[in-house]
Amino acid sequence: MKKKPVLKIRNLTKLYGDVVGIKDLDLDVYPGEIMGFLGPNGAGKTTTIRACLGLLQKTAGDVKIFGLDSHEDSIEIRKRTGYLPGDFGMYSDLKVKTILRYLLSQSGVSDESKMEELSALLELDLGRKYGNLSKGNRQKVGIVQAFMADQDLIILDEPTGGLDPLMQQKFYDFMREEKEKGKTIFMSSHILAEVEEICDRVAIIREGELQVVEDIHSLKEKMGKKLVVEFENSVDPDIFKIEGVNDFEIDGRRATMIVTSNLDEVIKKVSKQNVVNMSLDTFSLDQLFLTYYSRGGKGE
């Protein structure tokens, strides 16, 4: 992708007194992609997003959105950017439709078709009072308002929290359609599976610092899979000295290893033994971090 980035972050730093929120963050998000922003709770995802939108005053660094300065031209940027906060509330006594109309008109848009369409897709009842909605339905209100003004860039902070799996799937499909239409989506998440499912690229942040920005497939390949095999009898560890097998550990008859390549060869070696149990897992986020750092972290 050699297009000009929609969102360009350089050396972005946010300190809360002495506490580091984020430090020297560099990130580009290109038009028409879904960029996942992955990290454990408290890693600085929300801080990054809110600093980009001018909700936080950045301590240092530079953010350009559509080539515009995030501070100087923030109103122009917000005309073209939809945002779903990680935590939000709305007027409890008002109907969902009243609230959405108000937010839509604040964006300077009067066309309600996308609002209607997305509400129908997510089965959100616009006639109900916001205060009477369940957590999942409130989240739908947030999603609808982020997309309804049909803006070019959509920034989502943990968008699927509270949605049931069926709704999540509908929402993923919807995001893919939006992407097809040329929209750029930048979304934070702490769920690896979600990011894997819909994102083109992923940026991983930990303790305020960006660890890696990768194409999701190459990241997965790089990270490998975790193979756990329980043998009937004890085995010679040396048979697993194969290229692409890392972090081999054996505890009695139970072997654990990370396989980044040559999976076929590993399985063939395993199959020559009597196997009691076996599992092959993609990394959970925690394991991914653990593995990532045990291999030396940034720059690996």
């Binding site: 809110r50 909700l55 005053q57 109103i75 906060p85 935590d87 939000f88 709305m90 964006s107 300077g108």
Partner: protein, 356 residues
Amino acid sequence: MNIGKTMLMELRNSWRGYVLFILVVVLLVGGFAQAYPSFSEAFEDELDGSENVDVEMLEKDEEINVTLSWRKIDNVDSYSILVSETSNMMVPVDRVDGIKTTSHNYSLQYDEDGEVPERYFAVVAVNGGDEELVGIETNFERKTPFQEIWGVDYGDIQGFLFILWSTWWVLLIGLYIGYISVNVITKDYEEDRMDLILSKPISRRQYFLEKFLVVSLYTLGLLAIVGLVLIGSIYSVGELNSVSSSALMASSVLSWPVFLVMISVSVLAGVYLESSRKAVGVSFIFILIQYGINMVGDMAEGLEYLKTYTIINYWDYESALYGEAVGVLDVAFLLVLSVLLVILAMVVFERKDIPV
């Protein structure tokens, strides 16, 4: 393009509270004005038989000549005069007996400060062993307790309204206005709306000014309603000939700048502290201190200068009630103070992080 949307949304969300408070104020203000006739009667406590006794004073260099004369009572042996410092005559400081005529010259000494002492004189008719009060009169113009404290009398409607205004209308309205001025912004923080609202293309400045305007215009409307209710209520007790309806309306509506300062202080506290609880505390303390200092300044003579430091003192509600000219400079001072506070609050709001 989007001007007024924030105001409209605030009204849609909070109108119940706003309307409820208007009803409370209408009932209280209207109700109290109804009580005026009975108050004014209650405070016209004439001295017993004062119509029977006349007192005239002639101040000389070394003493004061008090000439007492009274209505003749038939078939009495003599008259006695009791002199006291209080109207209940419980502890007479002097007594003159055996007066045969219906007048008497009484000599009164100046007090330590060289002032004419305030005395009550009771004339008693003595017949054998019986004593009958002819009447009580004083050598000074009597004051009610309210007159003594505020220098105004419940005896006229303006004084009555002024005391109500300064003792608790200003406090009641001030505290409520302070409360909503804080909450108009901090509720958007605390109910997690601020991120969403400010992620739309509206500047923080516009958002802030619209919130400020909502409360300011609401207050102006409230004061106009208070004016109308006063006119109606006072008309219904037949007192509208003693106070003009335009003065009633003007005194109410022109109180606005005082409340504008309270609003400005409260929104400043709100955006600085970003917490309803803390900011309402600051706002209430500010208003109560203003009120308290003004009270102390009214009650204790040497402390009147303190009132210069209160905003309430820059609005002469009483003069406005009498239809007298309003101090333009004072009003201008309040307006300028309010504008400065609002600008400060806006700068604070524009520079702060939006809390989560």
